[in-house]
C-alpha cells in the first residue's frame, strides 16, 4: 500500500473525485463488456483494476484513454466531460502492455515523441527527455534502438515516454506482465516511488493480485463487466464481500454451512466440515437456516499435533501435502469428510521440535475474529 496516502480521500465526502466514471456501458455488438459501471478515483491515487481475463478491465482502461467509444454514460476528468474527446487531445497517457515503443526511433526520440506533438521548444524537449532518462536510470541508453534493450529497459522507456508529457492521468495496462518475478517486484517499488515523486494519478490494470496489493491505494475488483468491490488492499484481503472476491485475492479456505444464530461469541455456523458449531465474531443480518460461508485465510489457521486447550473452532484432519516455501510452509490438510483446507505456518525454527510431516493427524483452529462471514 502506498505510504503517501496518509489521508483517504474516498472516505471524505467533501473531497471532489478527480475521475468520475458515471454509469458507463460498453457494448461490442450483443456482448456487454462494461455494464453500467460507476467509479470515482481521487487525485494522486494509485488505483488498480483487478480481475480475471475478460472481466472488462482493459476495456475500461481503453475507454479512459479514448480508444474505445463509450456506448452509454460519461467519463469526467477534473470536472470536464472527456467522453467525446479523441485520444490525441486527452491529457491522459498510457503505458501499453506490449510497451508499443516505436522500433524506428531511438530511446531518446521515443521519449521526445509526445513532447514534439505539443510543439515545445527544442531546448525544453531536450531537458525533459534528460529528466525522464534520469528518472528511469537510462541516460546511457539514450541512443539505443528498442530492439537493443532488455525487457526491463523497454518497460522503463515505455514508462518514461508516457510520463514525459506530465499527464493528468497515467494508465498502465499490465505494465509488469512481461518481466520476471524478481524484476517485477523491484519495479513495483520503483513505480510507487515515481508515482509519489511526480504526483500523477495512476490507474493500473492487472490480473496479478499480489501486484495490485503491493502498489495500490485502492483496488477495484471486476467481474463480468462490473465492479464487485472497491476498497483498500487490506479491506479487500481481510474483508472481502463475497466468495468470489475472497477466492480471487489470495488463498482462502471456505467453510459452507447454515446460519444458527448469534450467541455471546458471535455468529454461529453449522458447517458441513465440522461436527460441532463454529463461530465468527462478525455479526450479520441473517435469519436461522440461511446459507452462509466462513472465509478463513490459511495463515490464520493454527495447525498443531497437540489438541488445543480452547475447544472452539476446531477441525481435525491429516496432512496430505506440504509445500515448503522457505520462510513458511503450506500444509494441505484433508478433513474427515474429504475436503482439503490449507494452513500456513511460518518456519520460525531451523529444526522444528514439533515437526509436522505427511500423514500426521493434526488439529486446525482459528480465532473467531479471523473468519469472515459471507452471505454470497
Amino acid at each position: 500500500m502506498s505510504e503517501t496516502l496518509t489521508a483517504s480521500p474516498w472516505l471524505d465526502s467533501s473531497e471532489k473525485p478527480y475521475i468520475q466514471i458515471e454509469n458507463v456501458t460498453k457494448k461490442f455488438g450483443d456482448f456487454t463488456a462494461i455494464d453500467n459501471l460507476k467509479l470515482d478515483i481521487y487525485k494522486n491515487e494509485f488505483f488498480s483494476l483487478l480481475g480475471p481475463s475478460g472481466c472488462g478491465k482493459t476495456t475500461l482502461l481503453r475507454m479512459l484513454a479514448g480508444f474505445e467509444k463509450i456506448t452509454d454514460g460519461r467519463i469526467l476528468l477534473d470536472g470536464e466531460d472527456i467522453s467525446e474527446i479523441p485520444p490525441h487531445l486527452r491529457p491522459i497517457n498510457m503505458m501499453f502492455q506490449s510497451y508499443a515503443l516505436f522500433p524506428h526511433m531511438t530511446v531518446e526520440k521515443n521519449i521526445a515523441f509526445g513532447l514534439k506533438q505539443d510543439n515545445l521548444p527544442e531546448s525544453e524537449i531536450k531537458q525533459r527527455v534528460e529528466e525522464m532518462l534520469e528518472l528511469v536510470e537510462l541516460t546511457d541508453f539514450a541512443k539505443r534502438k528498442p530492439n537493443q534493450l532488455s525487457g526491463g529497459q523497454s518497460q522503463r522507456v515505455a514508462l518514461a515516454r508516457s510520463l514525459a508529457k506530465r499527464p493528468k492521468l497515467l494508465l498502465l495496462d499490465e505494465p509488469l506482465g512481461a518481466l520476471d518475478k524478481r524484476l517485477r517486484e523491484q519495479t513495483q517499488f520503483e513505480l510507487m516511488d515515481i508515482q509519489e515523486k511526480l504526483e500523477v494519478t495512476f490507474v493500473i490494470v492487472t490480473h496479478d493480485q499480489e501486484e495490485a496489493m503491493t502498489v495500490s491505494s485502492r483496488i477495484g475488483v471486476m467481474d463480468s463487466g462490473n465492479l464487485v468491490q472497491v476498497a483498500t488492499p487490506t479491506e479487500i484481503y481481510e474483508a472481502p464481500i463475497n466468495k468470489d472476491v475472497a477466492d480471487f485475492i489470495g488463498d482462502v479456505n471456505i467453510l459452507q454451512g447454515v446460519y444458527k444464530g448469534q450467541n455471546e461469541v458471535g455468529t454461529q455456523l453449522q458447517s458441513e466440515d465440522s461436527n460441532s458449531i463454529v463461530f465468527a465474531t462478525q455479526e450479520v443480518d441473517a435469519s436461522p437456516g440461511d446459507k452462509m460461508w466462513f472465509a478463513i485465510r490459511p495463515e490464520k489457521l493454527e495447525i498443531s499435533k497437540k489438541k488445543p486447550s480452547d475447544d472452539h473452532n476446531i477441525l481435525r484432519g491429516k496432512i496430505e501435502d506440504i509445500a515448503y516455501g522457505g520462510s513458511f510452509s503450506t500444509y494441505h490438510v484433508r478433513l474427515q469428510n474429504g475436503r482439503i483446507l490449507k494452513a500456513i505456518r511460518a518456519n520460525r525454527e531451523r529444526t522444528e521440535e514439533h515437526h509436522l510431516t505427511w500423514e500426521d493427524e493434526v488439529y486446525l483452529q482459528w480465532a473467531p475474529h479471523s473468519a469472515v462471514v459471507l452471505l454470497s
Binding site: 522500433p103 515523441f113 506533438q117
Partner: protein
C-alpha cells in the same frame, strides 16, 4: 556414423546434405544466369557479319597452340556515338521512375486499405489483386488497346455521358504506356506492401495517438517509416522490370515512345546486329545492378 568416417575429407563435405541444399541455388544461378550472361558478354565483344550466327567468333583457333582473341569494343563505342541509345536509356529511366512513383501511390492506398479491412475480407480482396495473373499478360495489355483506342470503350463511355465531344487521343502516347505499366505492375507493388502493413503492430498507432499525434501525422511519422522495407521491395520489383519493358511500349506506345527494351528488340530482329543488341543489354544490366544491390542491402537490413 561409421560409414561417414570412412569417407575421405574433401568428399565428406560434398556428400553432406547441407552442401546439396546450398548447391541448388548456386547451380541454378550458374546455369540460368551466369552462363547466358557470359554468352551475351561474348557476343557484345564480337563484330556483326552476314552469317549464321551473325557475329564473329571471339576465339580464333587458327594454326597456333593458343587461340587468338578477337575482341572489339566497337559495339559499346557505337552506343555512345549515337544519341539515340543514350536518349533511350534516359527515357526508360524517366518512364520507370514516374511509373514506379504512380504505382507506389496507388499500390500503397490499396495495400493499406486491404491490410486494415476486416480480417474476413482480406483474403478475398487480396485474391482480387492477384486474379488478373490468371490471364496472360499479353492479352491483358491487348485488352487495353480496346479500351484506350479512339473508338474504344473509354472514349465511347465518356462521350455517351457527355463529358467530352471529341474522342481523347490516348492510344499510342506515353500516357497509354503509363496506364499499361501501372496496371500491369500494380500487384508487384501491392503484395510486398500488404505483407508489411498487415503485420504492423496496431498498438504503435494507438501509442502515437495517445502521445498527442494526429492521425494524418501518425501516418507519416509511424506507418510510412515502418513500412519502408515494403516500399523498397515494391519499388524495386516494379522499377527493375519496367526499365527493360518491351511489350507495353510496343503495343500501347507511339512511334515517339522511346524505351531501351524496344531499341534492343529493333537491333536484334530488324538490324540483326547481335553485338550491338548484346551491348545494349549488358549496359542495361550494369545500370540495374546498382538498384538491385541497394535492394539487397535493404533486405539484409530488414532481416537483421
Amino acid at each position: 556414423m561409421k560409414n561417414k568416417q570412412k569417407i575421405p575429407g574433401p568428399f565428406k563435405s560434398l556428400l553432406s546434405g547441407r552442401f546439396a541444399v546450398i548447391a541448388i541455388p548456386y547451380v541454378w544461378l550458374l546455369s540460368f544466369f551466369l552462363l547466358p550472361f557470359i554468352f551475351v558478354l561474348k557476343i557484345s565483344l564480337a563484330e556483326p557479319i552476314m552469317a549464321i550466327p551473325p557475329y564473329t567468333a571471339l576465339l580464333n583457333w587458327g594454326d597456333s597452340w593458343l587461340p587468338s582473341i578477337q575482341a572489339s569494343l566497337d559495339s559499346y563505342l557505337f552506343l555512345f556515338s549515337d544519341s539515340l541509345y543514350i536518349k533511350a536509356y534516359l527515357s526508360s529511366l524517366k518512364i520507370a521512375i514516374i511509373s514506379t512513383i504512380l504505382t507506389l501511390i496507388i499500390g500503397y492506398s490499396i495495400a493499406y486499405s486491404v491490410a486494415r479491412a476486416p480480417s474476413r475480407w482480406r483474403g478475398i480482396l487480396l485474391m482480387l489483386v492477384i486474379l488478373p495473373f490468371w490471364t496472360s499478360f499479353l492479352i491483358r495489355v491487348y485488352a487495353w488497346i480496346g479500351i484506350l483506342k479512339t473508338e474504344g470503350l473509354l472514349n465511347l463511355a465518356l462521350m455517351t455521358i457527355g463529358l467530352i465531344d471529341k474522342p481523347l487521343i490516348i492510344m499510342n502516347t506515353d500516357l497509354a504506356v503509363y496506364i499499361g505499366i501501372v496496371y500491369s505492375y500494380l500487384p508487384f507493388m501491392i503484395l510486398p506492401l500488404y505483407a508489411n502493413l498487415e503485420k504492423m503492430d496496431m498498438s504503435l498507432l494507438e501509442a502515437a495517438a495517445d502521445l498527442g499525434c494526429r492521425p494524418f501525422k501518425t501516418f507519416w511519422t509511424v506507418t510510412v517509416p515502418l513500412s519502408l522495407p515494403g516500399i523498397l521491395a515494391g519499388c524495386f520489383l516494379v522499377f527493375i522490370p519496367v526499365m527493360g519493358e518491351f511489350v507495353i511500349p510496343d503495343l500501347l506506345g507511339g512511334s515517339e515512345t522511346l524505351m531501351i527494351g524496344k531499341v534492343l528488340w529493333t537491333e536484334f530482329f530488324y538490324n540483326r546486329d547481335w553485338p550491338v543488341a548484346s551491348a545494349v543489354a549488358i549496359i542495361l544490366l550494369a545500370l540495374l545492378v546498382v538498384p538491385i544491390m541497394l535492394y539487397q542491402r535493404s533486405q539484409e537490413k530488414a532481416i537483421s
